[in-house]
């Protein structure tokens, strides 16, 4: 897959009082992700071509992907595909990139979501509402030791757009 052909559609930047290594660990390990990502477990094989999984609290694979760029603790790109049946076929693959840069003695974390085709803006509302909740929790966890519970659910307009595209929604 040629990731240079992917176009960014959602960017979220957040500054965190932590080291780049701490931010990398929080983004890539289940021990941390369960605390800020609604109990979901991130599993990463830390090498290009390695597997990336976000596991739901019931143990099922919610998101799966492949590691495309792996430069700890600076840059990680993974394909990031929700496992709903027919979803990748309808939307194409999603690429998520984390850039971790020093900013004074803090860290600037930039998350970019990119796709290989242009989609209805309503489809992107899922990421645009999800990332601020996930990364706000990650920041709180690293700065205070605890992430507040933030309720997350798929936005109605995203579900409606998927339905229009003929994707069968789970549940």
């Amino acid at each position: 897959m040629d990731i240079s052909k992917f176009t960014p559609h959602t960017v979220y930047t957040i500054y965190i009082a932590a080291t780049p290594e701490q931010v990398w660990q929080a983004l890539t390990t289940a021990e941390f992700s369960r605390k800020y990502f609604s109990g979901f477990a991130v599993e990463l094989q830390e090498k290009v071509g390695g597997r990336f999984v976000v596991r739901a609290p019931d143990g099922s694979e919610h998101i799966t992907g492949e590691v495309m760029v792996c430069e700890p603790p600076k840059r990680l790109s993974v394909t990031f595909n929700v496992t709903w049946p027919g979803l990748v076929e309808a939307l194409g693959e999603t690429l998520v990139t984390y850039e971790i840069e020093p900013a004074g003695d803090a860290v600037r974390l930039t998350m970019t979501e990119a796709g290989d085709r242009e989609l209805d803006d309503d489809i992107y509302s899922g990421g645009r509402t999800g990332w601020p909740a996930i990364l706000s929790g990650l920041k709180s966890l690293l700065e205070t030791g605890k992430a507040p519970a933030i309720k997350m659910e798929p936005p109605a307009k995203m579900l409606a757009a998927l339905k229009r595209m003929g994707v069968k929604l789970p549940g």
Partner: protein, 159 residues
Amino acid sequence: MTKPEFVYVTYIETTAEKLWHALTDRDFIQTYWMDCILTSDWKVGSRMTMERYGELKNECVILESDPPRRMSYSWHSVFDPDMKKEKPSRVTYLLEPQGKTVKLTVTHENFADGSKTLPSISFGWPMVLSNLKSILETGRTLPLDAPELAATETAHMRG
């Protein structure tokens, strides 16, 4: 086609009242807004000015105020000749309590195509709002180097 606008959402463990105070108190704002001083009585129709190191950066007018839920003001960047020629843009704060947190949505919109102000504010808001979250949750601001980052903001604006 996406509208030329900037939207940023952050969840802060605090109350809407404390967040409203943090967004409107001159002395408190100065601690997290990269040394910027915001002066206003925050009443609808009033002026609000934003200054840094004695230089007037942005001239604003309060358009809506519904404490502690919603605030809106116009924004006119006057420190750069090209930006000064642009029509004023509009900032809206929306504060929505959710559990132990408040969801803060900052929408900055009404930009002309090719606006120079839009890339500048897109760089500035995440820093200011990350710092706001830190000070409300931990009592401390981020260990950023404010003068250096203020310079980066200007460099970024010049693109």
